[in-house]
Structures are given as structure tokens and as C-alpha cells.
């Protein structure tokens, strides 16, 4: 068995035996704190996940013992930091099963990764009248960059509709793909509804028509993992901080052949082969897209987060989160007046809801005083909120460290809201 195959297996099954959420919680220092003298019940991991000690310690150790700029300098520290930095790239490659590590571009965020594709691939490959297909359930980060490109290039944005359950209309999707469609940019999993989209089908249908595909994996990768070779997407973007890693680092995966044909995104240090005032030649991929000093500590921290997830095993995490979602759906459904948005047969880890005519922000404020942290708002998906004709919803999201007791705490805090609002 070669090393990559063995590592892939580890990622799925985990190297630890058994998944014990109470043991896992000990890895996350913040989970032992109190909020307003109540134990913290953190149900906002879809916005940003908490960090395990393994990530925190790795980042502290990097800054304390092994820090210097990367890809420069011949001294020991720079060489060590570079080794660690590039090892993290390998970790990402392995985690998503990319063919080569040079297909991994580190960005500031998933948002920047989408913007990179829009600016570099989009400007190069799109002409006036060309079409991009997105969906009704996209995060603003997978809408606005394309709108900006539309303004610049005169391209057309088409939107795949969804049904009341929050499921993509796949017939409509197929019909939207025409001779002018150049790109499909769709989320792996809705951040506001939890819907898991049939991304493999989406990629296959689009590729049959020669259309490039970008998948927004911010939510999908944290709950489902991804094998980019099996998926065959041309681009897959995600952020580090939702994967239990630090903020300030995102990942753009792109197929090598496509990345190689793309011009640089930003100019500066670290992305050049040689600069004279007459001419500059650029480095190959991925460094061509990584101008300036990268988020060194954060990238290394992300590597530690992926190692941590590998240890637990994605299958065990997914099973635990499925149990929480099922339990929470049942518990919350029993609360009178509570309506759940997003009831797709394929969904994960997110419960979006409203309660009667109580505004989500009032709900958020009241349950916060019980130590329960949820997101109340439009989840950066206003077109989706418009679809359901609501300004906002409350979103509880479940991560690997949440427990059934925390779901109970949420339910009891919601009943408190009902007491206040009568």
C-alpha cells in the first residue's frame, strides 16, 4: 500500500480507536469557559469553528521556536519554516486527495480564492455574452465576485432555482447549461440550509458540455470531506477557520493544467522567477498565485488542524454530526411555532429556523444569555432569504465537539424565548 493510499484511509477511518465526544471536547480549551456564568454552548461553527489545542500549540511553537520568512534566506530558521509551510501544503493535498501538491494555492480566505479565479481565470477566459451558472443558495462570496466580473466583462449570470425544501432543481440546472456557459460555480453544501448538493452529478453534467466547474467547499469539506480527483471539479475552494484551523488562510485547489494556463493574480515578491525593469518572469504554480509573504503561521496551523481531523477520522466525525442533526431536528420540531428552513433529504449539520413572529435577532440575544451561541441573520445569503421571504433566520450549526446535552440546552433556551414573548 503506498503512503498516499494509507493516509487516505486514515483520513476516513481515523487513527484513534473510537470517537468519544467528551474526550474530544478536552482538546478545545474554549469549550470549558463560561458565558454569563453559564457553560458555553457553541453552535456557531458554520461561521467559524473553535480551535483544538493541537492547532494552538503548533502555532505557538512555530512562533516561539521555528519562525522566519519562507522561500527566502539560507539560514536554518527560514529553511525550517519553509519545510513546515510546504509540509502543510502536502497535508492539504493529501486531505483532499489532490494529484499534486502544486495544485494547492494558499489564499487569505475562501473568498479570496473565488476572487482569484474570477480575476485570473475569468478575465482570461470569458468574453462578453458568456454565461456563468450559480445557484439560489450561494453565499455572497460566490455571487459578488461574478457580479463584479459581469460589470467588467459583460458576462451573464444565471441562477439555478431551488424548491421549498432547499434542494437544487437539477432539471433546471441542465437546461441552464448552454453553448455560452463557461463556468458553473456552486456550493458543495449550503451554509444557510445545510443542503448537500449533488456535486459529482453537477461536475459530470457540466464536463459533458465542456464547462469548467468551481465548487465552494467551505461547509462541505468540514462535514463530508472531499476527494477532488473523484469529484473531478476544476476548482475547489475552502477556508481554514471553518476546518478547526486559524483564520487568515484559505485554499484554492485547481487542476494543474488549468492553473498553469492562468496569469498571476497579484504581483509582488515570492511569485517571480526574475525581475528586471523591462520584464518579469513568473514562478510556476502554485507560487505564481502567492504574491507577498503568506500567512506562514496560519498555514502551518491549518496543517495541524488537518492532522487532527485525520486522527479522529472523517467518517466518525460525520456519524457523530449526523446523530446530532437528527436529534436536534427532533427536539426543535417539538417547539410550537418553530419552522425549519432547509429540509432536503441530503443535508448536514445545520438547522436554520424561525419561531413564530419573533425576530431571529431577539432569539439570538435571549439565548445568548443562556450561554448558547448561534448565528442570527441572513448568513451572507440574502437571495436565499428572499426566496423564503424572511429577513433572517436563526442558525444552529453542529460540529464534531457538540453534544446532545447542548442540543437540549438550545431547546430549553428557545422555550425561554417563548416565555418572554408569550
Amino acid at each position: 500500500m503506498n503512503e498516499i493510499v494509507r493516509l487516505r484511509q486514515d483520513i476516513e477511518t481515523g487513527t484513534k480507536s473510537g470517537f468519544d465526544v467528551y474526550e474530544v471536547r478536552k482538546d478545545f480549551p474554549i469549550l470549558s469557559r463560561t458565558i454569563y456564568d453559564k457553560p458555553l454552548v457553541y453552535l456557531d461553527s458554520a461561521a467559524s469553528a473553535q480551535k483544538p489545542r493541537q492547532v494552538i500549540d503548533t502555532m505557538v511553537r512555530t512562533m516561539t521556536e521555528e519562525y522566519a520568512n519562507v522561500h527566502r534566506g539560507v539560514h536554518w530558521l527560514s529553511s525550517t519554516a519553509t519545510t513546515r509551510f510546504e509540509a502543510a501544503r502536502k497535508s492539504v493535498q493529501c486531505f483532499i486527495n489532490a494529484r499534486e501538491d502544486r495544485e494547492i494555492v494558499f489564499t487569505r480566505s475562501a473568498t479570496e480564492a473565488v476572487n482569484l479565479v474570477a480575476a485570473s481565470w475569468g478575465r482570461t477566459n470569458l468574453r462578453e455574452g458568456d454565461e456563468i451558472v450559480i445557484s439560489r443558495m450561494e453565499h455572497h462570496a460566490n455571487i459578488v465576485p461574478w457580479q463584479m466580473l459581469r460589470t467588467e466583462k459583460g458576462i451573464v449570470l444565471k441562477v439555478v432555482p431551488i424548491d421549498e425544501r432547499g434542494t437544487l432543481d437539477m432539471d433546471a440546472f441542465e437546461k441552464l447549461l448552454g453553448p455560452k456557459t463557461k463556468l458553473v460555480a456552486i456550493t458543495h453544501m449550503s451554509n444557510a440550509l445545510g443542503t448537500i448538493n449533488p456535486v459529482a452529478d453537477i461536475v459530470r453534467i457540466a464536463h459533458d458540455k465542456g464547462i469548467t466547474v468551481l465548487i465552494d467547499g467551505c461547509q462541505g469539506i468540514t462535514h463530508l470531506g472531499v476527494d477532488v480527483q473523484a469529484l473531478d471539479a476544476d476548482f475547489y475552494v475552502f477556508s481554514g477557520h471553518k476546518l478547526y484551523g486559524p483564520t487568515g488562510v484559505g485554499v484554492l485547489y485547481g487542476k494543474a493544467a488549468i492553473l498553469e494556463a492562468m496569469p498571476p493574480y497579484q504581483g509582488g515578491g515570492d511569485m517571480i522567477a526574475r525581475v528586471t525593469f523591462e520584464e518579469t518572469t513568473f514562478k510556476g504554480i502554485p507560487h505564481r498565485f502567492e504574491a507577498g509573504t503568506p500567512a506562514i503561521v496560519e498555514v502551518i496551523g491549518l496543517g495541524a488542524a488537518l492532522d487532527y481531523l485525520t486522527e479522529l477520522g472523517l467518517d466518525a466525525i460525520a456519524a457523530h454530526e449526523r446523530d446530532l442533526l437528527t436529534y436536534a431536528t427532533k427536539q426543535l420540531s417539538e417547539i410550537p411555532g418553530l419552522r425549519i428552513y432547509g429540509t432536503s433529504p441530503t443535508k448536514a449539520s445545520i438547522l436554520s429556523f424561525t419561531m413564530g413572529d419573533v425576530h431571529p435577532h431577539d432569539i439570538g440575544t435571549i439565548i445568548d444569555r443562556a450561554g448558547v451561541a448561534v448565528r442570527a441573520g441572513h448568513h451572507c445569503a440574502q437571495p436565499l432569504m428572499d426566496f423564503y421571504d424572511v429577513a433572517a433566520t436563526v442558525r444552529a450549526s453542529f460540529a464534531l465537539y457538540n453534544t446532545r446535552e447542548e442540543v437540549d440546552a438550545l431547546a430549553s433556551a428557545l422555550r425561554r424565548v417563548q416565555e418572554i414573548f408569550g
Binding site: Y36, H361, T365, A370
Partner: protein, 156 residues
């Protein structure tokens, strides 16, 4: 902790939140402005009829928002009616300080309607909820923009 919540969600607020006063679009309004809170997606429109002397003859609003923003808008429309531009301004500024200043014994602006400020004290609990201050002040900022003749405002 429950005291803070009770301070914020008093009966008066819940009542105004559920049954907002002057929740309508007067056809003879001569000034209006739209307010957005991009953080939560709340939006409301404030309609005013201001006579040539600068006195507010009618004030109303429409839109959707949380209990706090709706109650604040509702109370505001009741209070600014009959007031001159200067009186409205003084009330707005006093209210704004009440919501944002740490010192509960905030300085009222000269000429402010003390009775109105007394009533608005029910919203003073918002100081304990910094993330929600914008909910309480959205209608007021929007009204201020409408008075100034602007069409749109935002609390961001």
C-alpha cells in the same frame, strides 16, 4: 443575567414590537428615507409630513425588524409628532446618547422633551447589549435622514 433580559424586553417594548403604532404609509408624506441594517437584513422606511414651519405633522413607518427596532420606531413616531426640527434633533441626539453612552446619567440636550426621554428610558437596557444598539437606533437614523431630505440610510 435574566435581569438584563427583563430590562431589555420590557412589556412596553414587547407591546410596541407586536403592535407597532403608526405602521403605515401616509400618502401625504413629504419626506421619507429608507434604513437598512446590513448585519441582520432589517429594513424600514420612515415617512414624515413636515409643514413649512419645519414642524412634524405626521410620522409613520413600514418595514420589518426585530422587537427592539420595531418598538423603537413605533415609539419614535409617537414622540416626534408636533415637534419642530430642532426639538426632533435634540430628542434624537439625547436618545442616541442614552443608547450608546456608558454613563446612565447622560446629558440631555438643551430643550429636549424630558417626558419623551423618560418614556424612552425603557430602551436604555440596550446599553447592556452592544450588538443590538443599532437595532434601537436604526429608525432614528432613518428619521434623521428623512428630515434632512435624504432617501436612504444605513446603520453600518
Amino acid at each position: 443575567m435574566m435581569d438584563d433580559l427583563r430590562d431589555l424586553y420590557q412589556e412596553v417594548i414587547l407591546d410596541h414590537g407586536k403592535n407597532p403604532r403608526n405602521f403605515r404609509h401616509p400618502e401625504d408624506a413629504n419626506r421619507e428615507a429608507r434604513g437598512d441594517n446590513p448585519m441582520c437584513g432589517d429594513k424600514l422606511t420612515v415617512y414624515l409630513r413636515v409643514n413649512p414651519d419645519g414642524r412634524v405633522e405626521d410620522a409613520a413607518f413600514e418595514g420589518r425588524g426585530c422587537a427592539i427596532s420595531t418598538a423603537s420606531a413605533s415609539m419614535m413616531t409617537e414622540m416626534i409628532r408636533g415637534k419642530t426640527e430642532a426639538q426632533v434633533k435634540a430628542l434624537f441626539e439625547s436618545f442616541h446618547e442614552m443608547c450608546t453612552k456608558d454613563d446612565p446619567e447622560h446629558v440631555h440636550h438643551e430643550g429636549v422633551d424630558e417626558e419623551a426621554m423618560e418614556k424612552l428610558q425603557v430602551l436604555a437596557g440596550i446599553r447592556q447589549f452592544p450588538m443590538r444598539v443599532k437595532c434601537a437606533t436604526l429608525a432614528w437614523h432613518t428619521m434623521d435622514a428623512a428630515m434632512a431630505g435624504a432617501r436612504k440610510t444605513s446603520t453600518e
